[in-house]
Amino acid sequence: MKRRAVFAGVVSVALLSSSLVTSLGPTANAAGTLKIGVSLSLTGDFADSGTAAQKGYLLWQSEVNKKGGILGRKVSIKIVNDASSPDQVVTNYTNLITQSKVDIVMGPFSSLLTIPASRVAKRYGYSFIEPAGGGPKVFLEKNPNLFFVQPAATTKGGDIFADYILSLPAAQRPKTAAYVKLDDPFAAPLADNIKARFEAAGIKTVYDQTYPSETADMTPVISGVATANPDVVVGGTQNADAFAQVKAMIQLKLNPKFLFLSNGANAPVEFPKQIGIKNTEGIFTSADWYPQSTVPGSAAFIKAYIAMYKGTAEDIDPTSAEAFSAGTLLELVAKKTGKIDNKTIIATLHKGSWPTLVGNLSWNAYGEPQGAYLLTEWIGGHLKTVYPAATAQHAPVIPKPAWVG
């Protein structure tokens, strides 16, 4: 009984102090170090991308501190691991705001985690600049504190592929299509958008299936695609399933004329490692930032990245550039307004256009960016922009060359 009473007392004190901390609100740290809190998937399904985002955030922290911080305040980013869990991400952001008393929070990886995380930020009146949650459900939250740091909603990441395919002469255009989608708020709607465009243009759907995230072996799914024998395969993918889809296609000797993978294929290091660099040839994906980008600041970003993490420009995951850009936005707001608090960030970002590594960003009322992605293709072992023509580094390679096994 005594133990229970002590336990109840401790819990009560903890709850009381937690509510007191909460009542202090987002302006608790008005001066001194600018504390920023981020929850990232450093383990679990999104670990690769979470780690890439971590690199981007930490690189920005290092670079901004070299310049004296923001408005003279040193930047300190606290990153905690959510293990790719939507439950843990809520706990993490609640703790960052109420216990760690960070001044600002920025986003996790994936729409799945961004949605619950952004609700926490909104509840406490925090701005929520986030680099990697752009599925439609994110914007259906109607959260005016949220700003997605990519050129467009990720479900529009395939629009550029649809634009390209529909721009082809009738003789080159595919007649049949298959859609293989991960059950995920980002991946499946992206493929569905392409499907709607293709069907409206007369490209017949011969296969359309969604698989759960636990699917490790894609062979049964790709067997269904192989039976349908489509001209174009659209994969609504994240990382691991994109690798598994390609492996299954190689094993089943399914080589469509066009293959588009929404995510995974844009991982410059992991994708060729997992499927073999020669097998990457002719695979399409979309991108916002790429190593050859001529956007102002890109060369300096690459130089700083290599200095901090070694490797080459080709090793840089776009997610790192997106996370870096999320930090850049804070610098830009501070520079423009002379202030760095949540209300100012929210009010300021809703106006005008903001230059970042991933393009000039502007948002609608609920944080959906209003730009467009670029179409990239693996050519000669590198990702190259191929469409639209104005920004293309190379002509598209079609039809897709055969697998090399």
Partner: protein, 272 residues
């Protein structure tokens, strides 16, 4: 994988929630040894099997043996789950969380037979699992250790009275069950990209197979694995992939409702 799991249950009545994590450990060991030596991953099983055996025996000796017999069944669930989390954490520190796969260069090769593609790795894996089962059978049926194991399964008290060192048998039995993950891990690493968290997806399937086959029935686990594997593949390709994993749990529920001892499980005592 499943035969090892069911063996562990048969001997010790322990549901080993770390069996999937041991598979991932084996995948990483194969990955590392392949990076170092370039040898055929199937050959590397000869090296990884004793390592996994030692890991399994150590787990039983240091973590499960000290449990009070009256609480052992329940607490072993927690202990083995903790082992799984510990292994996941250790692998995350050593290997980071990047996806890895074992790539000898022929992992995606297939034979075309009458229009169907037969993946070479899966074919060799099939042969390997038959070989593993044959070895398990020989060990259990033809050796003194095997007789001790069977005696312990059938009646632990009588076995002890007849001079069987049940503590040693339990540790060796657990080690033997875990050692089967060496082969499973090599194949898993060849077939699919993995990271330290990949064991969660394995363990649910594994438990379903063991329940369907009958807890403790090695032959039953083989039949159950075939039924579940083929069943899930058929559901995925003929119906919808989204139902493939669900079908595992439908089967699990039906078995628990209609035939709780599984297809080949004994009514009262374990059967091997």
């Amino acid at each position: 994988m499943a035969s090892g799991q069911t063996l562990i249950f048969g001997i010790m009545k322990v549901i080993n929630l770390a069996q999937g994590a041991f598979v991932i450990v084996a995948s990483y060991l194969t990955f590392t040894l392949f990076q170092w030596t370039g040898l055929n991953p199937f050959l590397l099983i000869i090296v990884t099997t004793p390592i996994l055996f030692a890991l399994g025996a150590a787990t039983q000796w240091f973590l499960l043996r000290p449990l009070r017999p009256s609480d052992a069944a329940e607490l072993s669930l927690l202990v083995t789950f903790a082992v799984a989390l510990g292994l996941e954490g250790a692998l995350s520190v050593v290997y980071k969380t990047t996806l890895r796969s074992v790539q000898p260069g022929w992992e995606n090769h297939s034979w075309t037979i009458k229009g169907y593609q037969v993946n070479e790795v899966r074919f060799y894996a099939f042969l390997l699992s038959i070989a593993m089962l044959a070895i398990l059978y020989l060990v259990l049926a033809k050796t003194k250790f095997g007789r001790s194991v069977r005696a312990t399964v059938q009646n632990p008290m009588s076995a002890q009275l007849l001079g069987v060192n049940s503590k040693a048998v339990s540790a060796f039995g657990f080690g033997l069950g875990v050692s089967t993950t060496a082969a499973a891990g090599a194949v898993f690493g060849l077939i699919t990209p993995f990271n330290p968290g990949s064991h969660y997806d394995l363990i649910s399937r594994l438990l379903t197979i063991v329940v369907l086959g009958g807890m403790g029935a090695i032959g039953g686990s083989v039949i159950a694995a075939l039924i579940m594997g083929i069943g899930a593949a058929l559901v995925a390709s003929l119906s919808a992939p989204i139902w493939a994993d669900f079908s595992f749990f439908v089967v699990l529920l039906l078995v628990l409702l209609l035939r709780p001892r599984g297809l080949f499980g004994a009514k009262v005592r374990g059967a091997l």
